[in-house]
Symmetry: C2
Amino acid sequence: MANFQLSDAFLEAIQTLIGAEKDKKLRQKLNDLHYADIAEIIEALTAEEALYVIKLLDSEKTADALAEVDEDLREKILKQLSAKEIAEEVEELDTDDAADIIGELPSERQEKVLSQIEDTAHEKDIRELLRYKENTAGSLMAKELVKVHEDLSVLKCVNAMRKQAAEVTRVHSIYVVNEDNQLLGRLSLKDLLTANSRAVVKDICIPKVDHVHVDEDVEEVAKVMSKYDLEAIPVVNDKKQLLGRITIDDIVDVIKEEADKDYQLAAGISNDVEADDSIIELTRARLPWLFLGLLGGLGSVFILKDFETVMNKPELRSLFFYTPLIAAMAGNVGVQSSAIIVQGLANDIVKGSLLERLFKEVGLSLINGFFLSLVLIGFGQIMGQAFILSLTVAIAMMGVIVMAALIGTFVPIILDKRGIDPAIATGPFITTANDIFGIFLFFFFAQIILGF
Amino acid sequence: MANFQLSDAFLEAIQTLIGAEKDKKLRQKLNDLHYADIAEIIEALTAEEALYVIKLLDSEKTADALAEVDEDLREKILKQLSAKEIAEEVEELDTDDAADIIGELPSERQEKVLSQIEDTAHEKDIRELLRYKENTAGSLMAKELVKVHEDLSVLKCVNAMRKQAAEVTRVHSIYVVNEDNQLLGRLSLKDLLTANSRAVVKDICIPKVDHVHVDEDVEEVAKVMSKYDLEAIPVVNDKKQLLGRITIDDIVDVIKEEADKDYQLAAGISNDVEADDSIIELTRARLPWLFLGLLGGLGSVFILKDFETVMNKPELRSLFFYTPLIAAMAGNVGVQSSAIIVQGLANDIVKGSLLERLFKEVGLSLINGFFLSLVLIGFGQIMGQAFILSLTVAIAMMGVIVMAALIGTFVPIILDKRGIDPAIATGPFITTANDIFGIFLFFFFAQIILGF
């Protein structure tokens, strides 16, 4: 691969040059790099060194790098820049990235930066984007796009496009609009390359064009774009007026963030944190779920206390030795079931009635439970444990597995139907609930069978 | 959104038409739909109905739909089609999709289908793609691309492109090669639109072009493409000869599959399963991990048995009530730590030395453990439990939390250094290990403090 790999030696060389303030050599070393590589270098530097590099290089180079770096680092750097300096960086960015960066600033600073932007059209576009709510198509789109009027000749169209294309980083589609800026269709570059030059835009316009409403949820946009393999999608308002477009690279980020969030929720981590965040941020993300787990654990202390008298019967004491096993099985089964359902809901592949699903989960649990019970009874026999005790533990475990699977399956479905993100149901939430229920059910079954 | 939404009514209408064999009406209803929508409809039908639709519609329409549907369903449909029929479908597909479908067939059928493909160039390309190993750039790339010779004039270039473009679904980049088919650079459509028509390709060629080696791992390709926001990347061999190109829509699928796999591993599910897979498939994916959990649980039975005599001392019996709590905390902390590290490793953001990370995790655990201990001691006081017992449980819990965090952090790092996918370390693996260690440590600490 001909791609840049940040080596320790290269990084050290950069740091030495910064320390010695050898600006010319620094520029030489950095100017030919891709902005994504510069972003990588900046992230490896201290905040002060990063600031030095940002101030040294042209905005043309650093603006995109700044848009790429970690939000925490960007905040530190922007604090050290004047409103004028931030405006210069923002001027180099597409409107979507520009709005993202300005949106992160404290609101009084936002106004200062916006008023320093020299290109008033750019400023107006950014102001518009800042108005859209987070996680809507509007918040993700860029204003930069190529559009042509339906009545234009193909020749004039190419000229109009040339002008516009100079402003747009990448031309995906050429959108066709009428005099009210309503989206009528699109042109493919391919068709344009092969069109008769006397033709009019209308003639080669493809009237079918996928589009999303400006208030649409970004996850929905991601689904549409990946279902139809789109690389860009136009965004319209209620009147079907063309407002902007969303490109696939932004969607890739949405998909990744969504996956990371679900994974973290499943692991009991709230907030978006990374391995290199501060201890305080990491504590805030992790402590609440551990606290929930602790409450669950204290709940099981209560339940077990209720059965304390069982300890007076030496032949039944072993029941207590099985409590961690029961809790673990309940937790594991619950997480498995909920993870499959959460994924299924996310990909729209949970079909069939609730009753069918119920039968399936019960069937699955009975098969799994049966095999595991055999192992458990075998273990009891080897250990010289009373058969009735092994059988009791095995039966109780089957019951717990069925119950855990049902909770794991239906909690996410119910949450989803109520419009709550079902991903929250995986992880500690399900584990904790299942721990308590599991232990309770276990002793409940044992009590019935053994009659204590 | 102007997109197709599959309604129950529409589906029923389709099923009725299939039942009554009203081919003409069926064609009317389906022919205008996007292939992704047809795929969605096919997935909602029974396998027989799906087969009926596939046979009814033109290959032009169904080939892409067939490439989109779930692998299990495709297998069922392909079994019912003759080699000739499959070859007709495959003929309509780009080489990458064609190779994917043929690769899924039993090897003796592959040969039969390949020999029925009429376009010999297409057949040769597919045969080449079938040779690349799974999860390499070669297995993901398509042979379809637009390339021009460096010495061509811009005018001739446009003509050459027109011809090639007719064969390529989407033109991303125009690659420039020499007479040995070695990749020299690329042309941007934008530059081509604005170029002087007397210029030669060489003049407007952008020599810097990201590319990947044909044996590169697909995850690595995904990283490069998303880092540099690429929509297509050319694939080359050792001699830098242009072999094919990978497009971003395939990468989106790779990213999603990767995320799903990690999520399932964290939840204790091996193999790639979906909510709607058969009970047997789901059992095979889930039982092994449950078995592992069971073994862990049996391990803790052993440990607890060792401390059975503690039950003879009524004032210490409560220790047993806390075992599920201890096991749960150990499991939760371990999963949190490992999930953060696994994500960090995947995104290359785990920096600093192992020693720094060790200090950070211990610090984090002590903070979390301290708060949770306070709650635990408060609970003990309210319950009228001996203070020394509460204190013992609290101290032991702190020890268990620190241990669990360290295991959760370092197991993935060690696995990663040895080239094993660290994602396997999250989920049941960590939970089970931590359950056993946690319970052992808990009684070990209690024994030291309380001296039983």
